[in-house]
Amino acid sequence: MTGRDRPLPYRTVALLLIALFALAGSQGRPALAAPLIADLSNHLIAITTGFAGTDVLMFGATDGPGDIIVTVRGPLTDVSVRRKERVAGIWVNRDSLTFGLVPSFYAVASSRPVEELLTPELLQRQQVGESNLALIRPEAKPTKVEEFRQALLRVKEEQGLYSPTLGKVSFLGNQLFRTELRFPSNVPIGSYLVEVMLIRDGKLVSAQTTPLVISKTGVGAEIFQFAHTQSLAYGISAVLAALLLGWFAYLIFRKI
């Protein structure tokens, strides 16, 4: 049950609605009250036993020409970055630095390369691009912090949770836009924020934030929940189950 299974009806209906909206607007005065309206085809991604990643469609309309930047940020956590060193022939984790407010997932899509749209200061303020993420940096030598920060981004990219390439936002005409947001199978659960920005002449004209929830469902989710919220009861159940299973095995095989 993912976006991949049934995106088409959603997508068509949504696009049609927006198209109608825009058409109505183009005949008289601008129909859009806000300069920017955007939404997702799906606000809840359910991770089930067979989850293999999914696409979510982001679509919207602007009140005139301009460019769009979309950022997706997963739940924020503290992350330790560890570096292995060879000690007496064995690879051992030695140095470690902890960064704060690290998005567990991060992706950017835009209609043109972001450097052409906004000044470096604005990119940084809006946290557009991996290197502009507002991480809380640990206190250490700046060169070391920078080295570990680069490593953090690289590992996240290897895990497929940060995307080094820019996603494509495409315009239909000059008011309707859409983009596919790709979520891999190992996407972390939690509350995501999808931020859409309308840029015109190097200025941020309007921005809108849409929430997206990714959660586990089914038996696996319940077991995980049980283990983490009532860990004592979980442990007791695990032991009891093992005792019973062992006893049954004895009874069955004694007869054979």
Partner: protein, 307 residues
């Protein structure tokens, strides 16, 4: 067919897991070892996070020990008094072991410690088994039989707090089984094994127990130590995966029953050579993982819950 393991947060082939459980259970039925010392590293090799493999294995050990001890109990081969004394040491040891496990995990060194312990112990046990089994093959060829005492008296047996263990026909200091139980408890918590492969030699050579009651008694105490480890790992580290444990146990008990029936029909010392070779190979693979240059020298770990 893939099965999603909710605590390990990954999918694995259910038939691969069943085959692993059956294969290791088969060996354990043949050789009377728990099999955990082979299964845990195999799980790590197929990608299960070491912390989950270790904690889950403890849960699986509970089930396999129960089915084993019931059989020994029926044949009256369990020294409960000795078992309880070992158990007290085992409880303290395993509690300390799980705390140590959590500490090492926070320090980011748990994978290294598990890896090192396995390499050292697999290497040692593999080598000892190899020497012992090759020796017995040679002895059989040469027909040299050395007379042996029931058990040797060494200085350890002169310690205070003496206790009588009727079933084991022993009168020794209670400190000995307490200390032995303590160390096996620590190893059990850190490595996710029952510890039979350490406990059994210790009971024979340090405590001087008769071989008849050793296996049943060691299984008896391992049930409780492994149950304690499972409980503590669940509470402190949330790393026990019941789905994984269930699949492995089903394979394991079936394999153990087949193994114990097959072993009667095969030349034991030659098979011990093969097992020794297998143990050494697993140890060597794990040793290679420790010394080979990793693909990336950086790794990341989440700290605390998402905000």
């Amino acid at each position: 067919m893939q099965i999603y393991l909710p605590i390990a947060e990954m999918s694995l082939d259910i038939f691969l897991l069943l085959a692993l459980g059956t294969g290791v259970g088969f060996l354990s039925g043949m050789f009377g070892v728990g099999g955990g010392f082979l299964l845990t590293p195999l799980l790590i090799l197929i990608g299960v996070p070491p912390a989950v493999a270790v904690a889950t294995q403890a849960n699986q050990v509970v089930a396999s020990s129960v089915s084993g001890v019931l059989g020994h109990w029926r044949r009256d081969n369990v020294d409960f008094k000795m078992g309880f004394v070992l158990l007290i040491g085992g409880f303290v040891g395993s509690t300390a072991g799980v705390a140590l496990f959590g500490l090492l995990r926070r320090l980011g060194q748990i994978d290294l410690v598990i890896g090192l312990l396995y390499v050292v112990l697999l290497g040692l046990i593999g080598a000892l088994m190899m020497i012992e089994s090759l020796g017995s093959i040679l002895r059989r060829r040469h027909r040299a039989v050395a007379p042996r005492k029931l058990h040797q008296h060494i200085w350890l047996h002169g310690l205070p707090f003496k206790m009588r263990f009727r079933k084991s026909r022993l009168y020794i200091s209670a400190l000995l089984p307490l200390v032995v139980g303590f160390f096996v408890g620590i190893v059990s918590a850190l490595m996710g094994v029952g510890g039979a492969f350490i406990l059994v030699p210790a009971m024979i050579y340090i405590l001087g127990m008769p071989t008849m009651v050793v296996v049943g008694t060691s299984l008896f105490q391992i049930i409780f130590v492994a149950a304690n480890v499972t409980l503590l790992q669940s509470v402190q580290n949330q790393t026990v995966d019941v789905v994984l444990a269930l699949v492995l146990t089903v394979g394991g008990v079936v394999g153990a029953q087949i193994g114990s029936r097959v072993v009667a029909k095969l030349p034991a010392d030659q098979i011990r050579v093969l097992l020794a070779a297998l143990v050494l190979v697993v140890g060597a693979v794990l040793a290679w993982e420790l010394v080979a240059t990793p693909e990336s020298i950086y790794s990341i770990a989440l700290v605390g819950e998402p905000r």
